[in-house]
Symmetry: C3
Subunit: 362 residues, 3 copies
C-alpha cells in the first residue's frame, strides 16, 4: 500500500486509474453514455502508460532484438486495441480519423509542446541534424505511401462502395508498408546498432525497479483493462455524438489519439524540458512512423478478417492535415535545432486544425 | 529647391511624385478612368517609398523596441491603405488577390531579380544558412496557417455566401496569426537581440540626414497622399477593367502589389548588387511574413468593423501560386547560397504565373 | 566477328539486338501485333544504349562545348523519337504519360535501385551535399514550371477541346522552359566549368576504343534503328491495348520509359555499386531535368508543326505522381547521403504507383 502511494506521488498520472472502477460500475448500473464515455476515456490514459512501462521492462529482460520487437509492436498497443474494437463496431471513419489524429498529435501537439516548453527553459535547443534529417525523410516517404491510395483510388473506381480494384490497391499498399517497416527495423539494427531511445527513455520510466514477474502481471492487467475500457468507450461513441453534437470525426481525430498517447506525450515533453531534445524529437517521429507504416496497414489486414474491410482512403480534410503536418515536422526537425517560437507555431497549427475539425458538420 | 534637386538626382524614383498633381487634377476635371488610374498608380510608388524612409528615421529616433514596432506595423503601410479602401468599396476579391500577389512578388520577383543581378555580378552569393533556414521554416508555417481556412472551409459550409461557421474559422485563424506575429517580434528581441535589417538597410535609405521633424512631416504627407491616391485608384478599377478587358484578379495579383512595393523591391535588389545577399533575402522573406501573419489577419478584423467581412478563403489559383511560391523560396533560401540561374528560374515562375493570371477570363 | 563477340561478352545488354531482325521480319510476314510489339520493344533497349555510347565518343572528339551540346540534346534521343512517332499517330495521352514516366523512372526506380544496391554493398554512401542540393532545387523548380499549365488551365478555359488561351499558356511555358534549359547549359559552363559527368561516365561506357568513324556509323545505324522500331512499336500499341486489356496510360507511364532508358539506368546503377554515388545521383537527376525542361517543351513545338498540338496538361494521376516523386527525390538527395533503406522506400513508391496505374480502367 505504502509502495503504491509512493509510486503515485512520483507518477501522479496513475491516480487516473481511479476512473476504471467507476467506468465498470457505470456500465453495470446503467449510467448515461456520456458518463461512461468520460470515465472509460480517463481510465485508458494510465492503462496505456502501464502497457508502455511494462513493455520496456520486458524489453530489458529479453535479448535486445526481441526487446526492440516488443517496443516496435506494442508501442501503440492501446491505440491498436481501441481501433480494433471500433472496426468490429463498423466505425471505420472513426478508425481512419484516429490514425490521422495520432500522426498529427505526435508531429504538431507533442513536438510543438516539447519545443515550446524546452525552448522557454533552454533557449535554442540542438539535436543531431543527420539523424533528424534521415528520420524526417523516412516520415515524408511513409506518409506519401500512406496517402497514395487516397489520392489515386478516385481515378480507379467508386470509393464509396469500394470495388475490388480499390480494395486491391489498399491491400497492396498495406503489404508494401509492412515490408518497409520490417526493413526499417532490420536497418536500425544492422547499421545503427539498434534504437538508442529505449535505454535513455528508461531512466524516467515509472517502471524502475519492477521485476520481470511484476512487469508481466502489469502488462496483462493493463491490456485487459484497455480492452474493457475500449469496449465501453467505443460503445458510448454514437450516443455521445448525438447528445453533445460533436462529430464522430472530431472524436476520432482529436480525442482518441490524445487519450491513447498522453503517457507517451508526457515523456517526450519531459525529455525536452530536461534539454534532451534529440530524444523528444525521436519519440514523436518514431511514433508517427509506427502508426503510418505498421498500425495502419495492420488494421487493413485485421479488418479484412473481421469482415469490415478498412481501406486506406482518407477524406480530403485528413489528407490536407497530414500533408501539412508532415511538411512542417520535416522542415522543423530537418535543420537540427528548435526554439519556443517554432513550438508555438506547431501548436498553433494543431489548434487551428482542431478548430476546423470542430466546426465540421456532424 | 537645390536640396530637392540633389535629392532627386540621388533617388530618381521620386521624380514619379510629379504624377500626384495630375492624378488630383484629372479627378477634378473629369479625365478618363484609365488616365486617373495610371497617374494615381504612378504616384503611389514614390509615396510608399517615402512612408518606408520616414518610418526608418522615426525608428532611429525612438527606443529600439518602439522602432521595431513601427517597422513591423508600417512596413507595408501603403498596401494596407490600398486594401482598406478596396474593402470599403466591397472589392474583396481584389484584396485577396493583392495579398497573394504581395507574397508572390516578394518571393519570386524580388528574390529572383536580386539573385539574378547579384549573381551576374558576384557569381555564387552566400548568406547565413541558419538564419535563412529558420526564416524559411517560419514562412512555410505561416503560409500553411494562412491557407488552412481556404483548404478546409469547403468541407465546413458554403463558402460563396459564408455561413457563421466559415467566418468563425477565418476569425479564429486571424486571431492565432496575430498572436504568432507578436510572439515572433518578442522572439526576435529576446533571442536574437532585434532585427539587424533596419540598421544596415538604413545606409542606402534615401532619408539619410532627415531630422525627426522632417521625418514626421514626410510621413504625414505621404500617408495622406497614399490615402487620396488609393481612393482614386480603387475608384477607377471597375471602369478600367471594363475598358481594357483585363480581370480584377490580374490587377490585384500583379499590378497593385508591384506599385505598393517598388521602393522596397528596389532596396532589396540594390543590396544584392552590393553583395549583401543576406539582407536582400531577409527583406523579401520578412515582408512576405508580415503580409501573411499581420496584414492579412488585420484586414480580416478591420473588414468586420467596416461591414464587408473578408474571409481568408483564397481561390484555387491563389492557393496553387502561394504553395508553389513558398516551396520554391524555402528551397532556394534554405541552402544558404544563390546564383543567377536560380534567380532566372524564380523570375520565370513569376512570369508564367503572370501569363496564366493574364489569360484568366474576366 | 571475334571483336563483336568479345564486345557482347563485356556488354551482355547488346545481345538484345537480336530482336531487331525478328521485329522487321514480323512486320513483313504479318505476325501478331503483340509479337511485333515485344520484339520492337526489346530491340529499342540496346539501340538507345548505342545512341548514348556513340554520342559520348562524338562528344570526346569535338570541343567540350559542342560535346556538351550533343549530350544535352541527344541524351534522351530514343525517347524523343518514340514520342515524335506517337504524336504523328495522335497518341497524345501516351506521349504525356511517357514524359511523366520518364521523370518518375529516373527519380524513383533508378535512384532507388542505385541506393538499394549501392547501400547493400557499401553501407551509407556520401555524395556532394552542395551539388546535390543545388540540383534538387533546380529539379523542383523545373517540375513546378512543367505543372503550372496543368494546375491553372482548368481555370482559364475548357481543357478537353483546348481553347486558344489554353494553348497559349502551354506555348508560353514551353518557350520559357527552353530558355531556362539553355541558361542552365550556359551556367554549367561559365560557373562550374562544364558537367563532370561525361568524363567519369566514359570510363564504363561500352564504346571505349571506338574511332570517330565507327561512332558516327553506330550513331546513324542506331538512330535509324530506333526510328523503325518506334514505328513498329507505336503502330502496335492500340491492338496490344485491346488484346491484353492494359491501359494506354500504363504502357506510356511504365513501359515506354523503361525500354527507352534501360541502358542509361544500367550505368547509373553500376556507378552506385562502384560507390560513385554522386555520379549516379547526377545521372538520374540530370536526365529528369532534361526531360522536364527540354524534351517536353520541344515536343510541344514539334507537335504544333505536325498538326497534332500537344498541350502541357497532365492528368491528375500524373500530377500527383510527379509531385510526390520530385518531393521525395529532392528530400533524399538533399541531405547528401543515401542508404539501402532509402533505396527500398523509393522503389516501394514506384511499385505502388505502378500498381495504381495498372489498376486504372482502360
Amino acid at each position: 500500500m505504502k509502495k503504491i502511494l509512493s509510486f503515485l506521488r512520483k507518477n501522479p498520472l496513475y491516480i487516473l486509474l481511479a476512473a476504471l472502477p467507476f467506468a465498470i460500475l457505470g456500465a453495470i448500473v446503467g449510467w448515461s453514455a456520456t458518463t461512461i464515455f468520460v470515465f472509460s476515456a480517463i481510465a485508458i490514459i494510465p492503462l496505456a502508460g502501464l502497457i508502455g512501462a511494462s513493455t520496456e521492462i520486458l524489453a530489458h529482460h529479453t535479448t535486445p532484438k526481441i526487446g526492440a520487437l516488443l517496443n516496435a509492436t506494442l508501442g501503440n498497443a492501446a491505440e491498436l486495441i481501441i481501433t480494433i474494437v471500433a472496426i468490429r463496431e463498423g466505425l471505420l471513419e472513426l478508425v481512419k480519423a484516429s490514425i490521422t489524429g495520432s500522426i498529427l498529435g505526435n508531429l504538431l501537439l507533442v513536438l510543438g509542446m516539447a519545443m515550446l516548453l524546452g525552448g522557454l527553459r533552454h533557449g535554442i535547443q540542438q539535436f543531431d541534424r543527420k539523424q533528424a534529417s534521415s528520420n524526417s525523410i523516412m516520415l515524408v516517404l511513409s506518409v506519401i505511401i500512406l496517402l497514395i491510395p487516397s489520392l489515386l483510388s478516385h481515378y480507379i473506381g467508386d470509393i464509396e462502395t469500394p470495388e475490388p480494384k480499390v480494395e486491391a490497391l489498399s491491400l497492396g499498399v498495406a503489404a508494401v508498408m509492412i515490408v518497409l517497416y520490417v526493413l526499417g527495423l532490420i536497418y536500425s539494427y544492422k547499421v545503427i546498432g539498434g534504437p538508442v531511445v529505449a535505454d535513455e527513455r528508461g531512466e524516467s520510466a515509472p517502471a524502475q525497479g519492477w521485476s520481470l514477474k511484476i512487469a508481466i502481471g502489469v502488462l496483462v492487467f493493463a491490456t485487459i483493462g484497455v480492452v474493457i475500457m475500449s469496449e465501453l468507450l467505443v460503445g458510448a461513441v454514437e450516443p455521445v455524438i448525438q447528445m453533445l453534437g460533436i462529430s464522430e470525426f472530431f472524436i476520432g481525430v482529436i480525442f482518441i489519439p490524445i487519450i491513447g498517447n498522453v503517457a507517451e506525450h508526457f515523456v517526450a515533453v519531459q525529455m525536452a524540458i530536461k534539454n534532451k531534445m534529440a530524444l523528444s524529437v525521436e519519440i514523436a517521429i518514431a511514433s508517427s512512423l509506427q502508426i503510418a507504416l505498421f498500425v495502419a496497414p495492420l488494421l487493413v489486414f485485421i479488418s479484412l478478417f473481421m469482415g469490415n474491410p478498412l481501406t486506406l482512403i482518407f477524406n480530403p480534410l485528413e489528407l490536407i492535415a497530414l500533408i501539412a503536418g508532415v511538411i512542417i515536422a520535416a522542415l522543423v526537425s530537418e535543420d537540427g535545432e528548435s526554439n519556443w517560437l517554432e513550438g508555438a507555431e506547431l501548436m498553433a497549427i494543431y489548434l487551428i486544425l482542431g478548430l476546423a475539425f470542430f466546426l465540421m458538420p456532424t
